[in-house]
């Protein structure tokens, strides 16, 4: 799924990019928080998180200590690494365009 020069096709689709970008700035985030911030349905978010989890980019936990039924998600070190590389690839595209002769 990973393209050359850090561009990551798994992360790039708009919804998954929004999810990963949000998780990249947090240690963890609650499922409901991501759903509400991005205006997604439960099923849509579950589907995207499953895809990211299958690739090893995120983990989905259910803390036992919490009395409320929470689902906590976080980016894995691999997910973070791929996200950083993906952002660098996007910046690279812009820089290449700006550097190109008109």
């Amino acid at each position: 799924m990973k393209d050359g020069a850090g561009f990551d096709e798994l992360i790039h689709p708009a919804t998954r990019l929004s999810i990963v970008a949000l998780l990249a700035a947090a240690d963890w985030a609650d499922f409901a928080f991501i759903r509400d911030e991005l205006g997604l349905s439960d099923s849509a978010l579950s589907k995207q998180l499953s895809t990211l989890a299958e690739a090893g980019y995120v983990t989905v936990e259910r803390p036992l200590s919490d009395r409320r039924r929470r689902v906590r998600t976080r980016l894995t070190p691999l997910g973070r690494k791929r996200f950083v590389a993906h952002v660098a690839a996007l910046r690279g595209i812009l820089e290449a365009t700006e550097a190109a002769p008109v």
Partner: protein
Amino acid sequence: MSNSLSDAEARLALHEVERGRERVIDQIGMPAWYWWGLAACWVGLGVLNDVANAWAIAIATVAFGAVHSAVSQRLLAGRQRTGDVRVRADVVGRRAPLIVFGFLILLAGVTVAAGFAAYADGAEHPATIASLFVAALILLGGPRVMAAIRDHARRAESR
């Protein structure tokens, strides 16, 4: 696919990346109950200083310090305003805990200064007056300190 991605698409994707970070930065802060609780305890200690004996004041001060230390550690200097998300330390900034701690030290200093000023003016309950003044500063200034930390995080993002 990256080769076929246009300049506009890359820009749009980077905008979404920034928006994701901003959504989390918006969550930096302390819960409202923290500031109200701190202000109430401050007034309580001020009143005790005027009416109670030295032992009661010492015990209350130590108890306040212990409880505040436990609570403020859990709140992690604005990283967990709610139970919904915990902001990464590098996003909040390394100086955020120092800024919050500095604010509390400043409040303690203002309390002492205001207490002496009220005492010099002949007030009957100088510590109570000083603590009420500082409680107002806590309620007005606390959220502003957190807003400044959020602004700092946004500026760091744009650099």
